[in-house]
């Protein structure tokens, strides 16, 4: 005998078998028991919630000569014929493939004929929302005065597409998504009856992924049985089969982000890449999981602080944005890695403001906090934002090995404030002199550049935040510690370099730009002409080492770069040369 899918074998045959729709089922049973049959019903709800099954049970029950309290007997020839799909008077129509006016006209003619064997002629029209407007209008005339022997049962997943005039002639029932608990209970019944070995965790994972659709859950179980070939089904089998990241991996990644633990998060990404996981799917699942954790926090506010909630709000928001960016990314893994670095080294997004009234003091900018951290750790913590606290708690291992000597830091108590939008244009800062400014002047200009870069492109800001500026002999050197190859290479990509060049020109004036590695012996003095040599590091004016872009004529170069960047952003393109 051929294999019958579980969802078909376990399709409910009586109203009492229907899972998760108690009110609808009770009302329909009462209608049958009392003989008050409406001429049209509409069953609306998400897929896999029992609409078509209930329609078939209803068709059996109205035609059953001996219904028991509204339930079909399932023993009489009528019930059996309907169950086998051979009843002449129960006509199932797929609305998606019979959506035209001609089909409905034909139906209108047919409804006038009395039923061949049964009391009622039952028309089950699935996906009724797919009917054309003309077809709906044609149907409307039949619905206004249907022959007494006809019952229409419409099923749809999109009730808002059904004409209101049709809707007002139907008794409409809303089928709700089935709760995971009820799905697990049904799965438990199925595995026991079918002698399938599955762990309770596996059933829960299946229920979670079925998203309220019992049919989907049974299909998943069926697939897992084939996938596993007789062994015990575990949640990992489900993840493996669907190519999904395990919940545990999602939690591990989110925890790593929450703790600003870049190595742990990057290691997990590497692990996923090795296993050939889809990063877009991973991000999607990550977002779902992050939202669930946020929900847990908001539903139990006493157990969590506002700061923790704020952290998760922010992280979830960033993941939302990441998902958007990921759609256009050629290399999704790199984008995810940049995201991890961005987040763990100073997320560029504005800090949450909950509650604004409780926020104490001014909010230091992300880069100021990052730079001020070594000094501020011993100072009383005045920051109220969770990311600042989390950063203070968590080590930043990547940065810890940077060979760049400590540079003079701006005062932690007076961090540079990000100007309000438009403020920069209103009061432009004078560019640093071409011949080189003071160390303090260079650093202040650099801070301004970082703020502007963050507004232009968050990922670029993350790259620049790890670099040190040095102005010498009319050249601005953007220098990275020797092991920051990734950052340097990313910054040297034409689309990033274009923006940096434009910003440098705006803030530093007509200086040359060079990107390279810092020398370990570098003193940190902005005026020092010492060459920054490391691997292919650039010396002042050495065009072949690192990336160097010559100054453009004032105004024209910047305008062009801006135009190029706008075009690139509009088309999500790439600057090739």
């Amino acid at each position: 005998m051929s294999h019958q899918a579980l969802y078909r074998r376990w399709r409910p045959q009586r109203f009492s078998d229907v899972v998760g729709q108690p009110y609808t089922v009770q009302t329909l049973k009462n209608a049958i028991a009392q003989g008050e049959i409406a001429h049209a019903y509409l069953f609306a709800g998400p897929r896999g919630t029992g609409k078509t099954s209930v329609a078939r049970i209803f068709a059996k029950a109205v035609n059953c000569p001996q219904p028991q309290e509204g339930e079909p007997c399932n023993a009489c020839p009528s019930c059996q014929a309907i169950a086998q799909g051979s009843a002449l008077d129960v006509i199932e129509i797929d609305g998606a493939s019979n959506r035209g006016i001609d089909q409905i006209r034909q139906l209108r003619e047919e409804v006038n004929f009395a039923p061949a064997q049964s009391r009622y002629k039952v028309y089950i029209i699935d996906e009724v929302h797919m009917l054309t407007n003309e077809a709906f209008n044609a149907l409307l005339k039949t619905l206004e005065e249907p022959p007494p022997h006809v019952v229409f049962l419409f099923a749809t997943t999109e009730p808002h597409k059904v004409l209101p005039t049709v809707l007002s002639r139907c008794q409409a029932f809303e089928f709700k998504a089935i709760s995971p608990e009820l799905i697990v209970a049904q799965l438990r019944r199925v595995v026991q009856a079918e002698k399938i070995a599955a762990t309770e965790e596996a059933l829960q994972a299946i229920a979670r992924h079925a998203r309220g659709a019992l049919r989907d859950a049974l299909v998943l179980l069926d697939q897992l049985v084939s996938f596993k070939g007789g062994g015990e089904i575990t949640p990992d089998d489900l993840y493996e089969m669907l190519g999904l990241p395990p919940e545990e991996a999602l939690d591990r990644f989110l925890d790593a982000l929450a703790d600003r633990n870049a190595p742990a998060a990057l290691a997990l990404l590497a692990e996923l890449a090795e296993r050939g996981r889809d990063f877009e799917l991973f991000t999607e699942e990550l977002l779902r999981r992050s939202r669930d954790r946020l929900l847990d926090l908001t539903s139990a506010p006493a157990a969590s602080g506002e700061e923790e909630t704020a952290l998760w709000v922010r992280l979830t928001g960033e993941l939302l944005e990441l998902r958007r960016e990921l759609r256009y990314a050629l290399d999704k893994r790199i984008l995810l890695e940049v995201f991890v670095l961005e987040w763990t080294h100073g997320a560029p997004a504005p800090a949450p403001q909950i509650p604004a009234s409780k926020a104490a003091g001014a909010e230091p900018t992300a880069e100021a906090r990052t730079r001020a951290q070594p000094q501020s750790q011993s100072q009383p913590q005045t920051q109220t934002q969770p990311q600042a606290q989390a950063r203070a708690r968590a080590p930043i291992p990547v940065k810890a090995q940077a060979p760049v000597p400590p540079q003079p830091q701006p005062e932690a108590s007076s961090p540079p404030q990000e100007p309000p939008p438009g403020a920069h244009d209103a009061a432009p800062q004078p560019p640093i002199a071409r011949g080189g400014g003071s160390a303090q002047g260079v650093r202040e200009a650099w801070e301004r550049l970082l703020v502007r870069a963050r507004r232009e492109k968050a990922a670029l800001h993350a790259l620049l935040a790890e670099a040190s500026p040095r102005l010498a002999e009319g050249t601005l050197f953007i220098e990275y510690p020797p092991d920051y190859t990734f950052h340097k290479e990313r910054l040297e990509q034409p689309e990033n370099l274009q923006i940096v060049q434009s910003l440098v020109e705006e803030i530093f004036g007509g200086v040359r730009l060079a990107v390279g590695f810092a020398s370990p012996s570098y003193s940190g003095d902005g005026d020092s002409p010492a060459a920054s040599q490391a691997g292919s590091a650039s010396g002042p004016g050495s065009a072949e080492a690192g990336a160097a872009i010559g100054p453009s004529p004032p105004g024209t170069g910047r305008a062009l770069a801006e135009k190029v960047e706008r075009v690139r952003q509009a088309f999500e393109g790439k600057v090739l040369r």
Partner: protein
């Protein structure tokens, strides 16, 4: 007393009831019990004049009456009306009842004038928002359904459309209630589970909580979306709610009472009171900012930069937690929606 020429115009449910009442009255007028009349149903859209003329002119074989029922009178083509008028101008043979019904008919037209002069015209407009509770209460009484006041409000707030929709919903409630013994009122939970909410009842609960900046709204929103609600629909419902709040707030600031606002806007008074309670906690600027933010998300959706559910979540988080979700390439923006 005019001829048995009847024209019913207006709400479909009221027409149906009025025609049923007329039929009972006419059949009950005769001293002997009458057989059911033969019914000739016709439709304005594919009207056949000859069928009507034949029914008017042919004597009944067994003296039974003939009930000629023309639906959708507004769809009658001009040519059909022209052909019909001379026949209607003559006195009707005995036992002939001519019932025309439809949503509307031009009062200056010859057909309307003929019915007004020679027969009966009954205008049955759809009830206003203020009249609606009365009709619904009447339906509930007739079917013996008892609801808590919150249940009646839920019904009124969440069912849209004509009175026929309400009738179907109340029939359904009656059927459910009958299974659990007459006389016992249904609980709000039962009403909520049974009503087919055109506008998405659980969505409105989520949106109300969202606009009140209650963190639980995030859970309600998730449940609504997982329950099959369309994110696009929910998004635009949110925008519509904000506009309603702004309207209520501006009228309240003009010094209008809740009752006066309800009259002005055509909303249910209790709904206006609920909205007033909400807008008292929100400034106009906050609402305008929210509307702008929704507009921005809308543009992002239309540009294909955001999926509808993402746009909705971004707006919801920003509003509830006072945080603006950045868009790529723009960098951070100061939150305009700070709590």
């Amino acid at each position: 007393m005019g001829e048995h020429l009847y024209l019913f115009l207006g709400d479909a449910w009221r027409r149906e009831r009025a025609i049923q009442a007329l039929r009972r009255k006419l059949l009950g007028e005769t001293p002997q019990p009458q057989p059911e009349p033969r019914v000739l149903p016709l439709d304005g859209e594919d009207f056949r004049v000859e069928a009507l003329v034949r029914a008017l002119g042919t004597a009944s074989l067994f003296e039974e009456s003939v009930w000629i029922h023309v639906r959708r009178v507004e769809k009658l083509p001009d040519a059909a009306v022209k052909a019909l008028l001379p026949h209607l101008a003559k006195p009707l043979p005995p036992g002939r009842y001519l019932v025309f019904e439809g949503e509307k008919l031009d009062k200056r037209g010859a057909l309307y004038k003929l019915f007004a002069e020679r027969g009966h015209v009954e205008e049955l407009p759809a009830p206003t928002r203020r009249e609606l509770p009365g009709f619904v209460q009447q339906m509930l009484r007739e079917l013996g359904v008892k609801l808590p006041s919150a249940g009646v409000r839920f019904l009124l707030e969440n069912v849209e459309g004509d009175l026929a929709r309400f009738a179907r919903e109340i029939e359904k409630l009656a059927l459910y209630a009958r299974g659990r013994g007459r006389g016992r009122p249904l609980s709000l939970e039962e009403v909520q589970a049974l009503i087919f909410a055109d506008k998405g009842a659980n969505v409105f609960a989520a949106l109300d909580a969202l606009l009140a900046r209650e963190p639980r709204s995030i859970g309600l929103l998730k449940a609504a979306l997982e329950g099959g609600e369309e994110p696009t629909k929910v998004f635009y419902l949110l925008a519509a709610q904000v506009r309603r709040l702004l309207a209520v707030k501006s009228l309240a600031e003009e010094g209008l009472s809740a009752e006066a606002i309800a009259r002005r806007t055509g909303e249910f008074p209790w709904l206006v009171k609920r909205r007033l309670g909400l807008v008292r906690r929100l400034s106009t600027q906050e609402l305008v900012d929210l509307l702008h933010a929704l507009h921005e998300e809308d543009v992002r959706m239309k540009r294909g930069e955001r999926r509808p559910d993402d746009a909705l979540w971004a707006a919801a988080w920003a509003w509830v937690f006072g945080r603006e979700v950045r868009t790529s390439g723009e960098g951070p923006k100061p939150s305009a929606w700070g709590a």
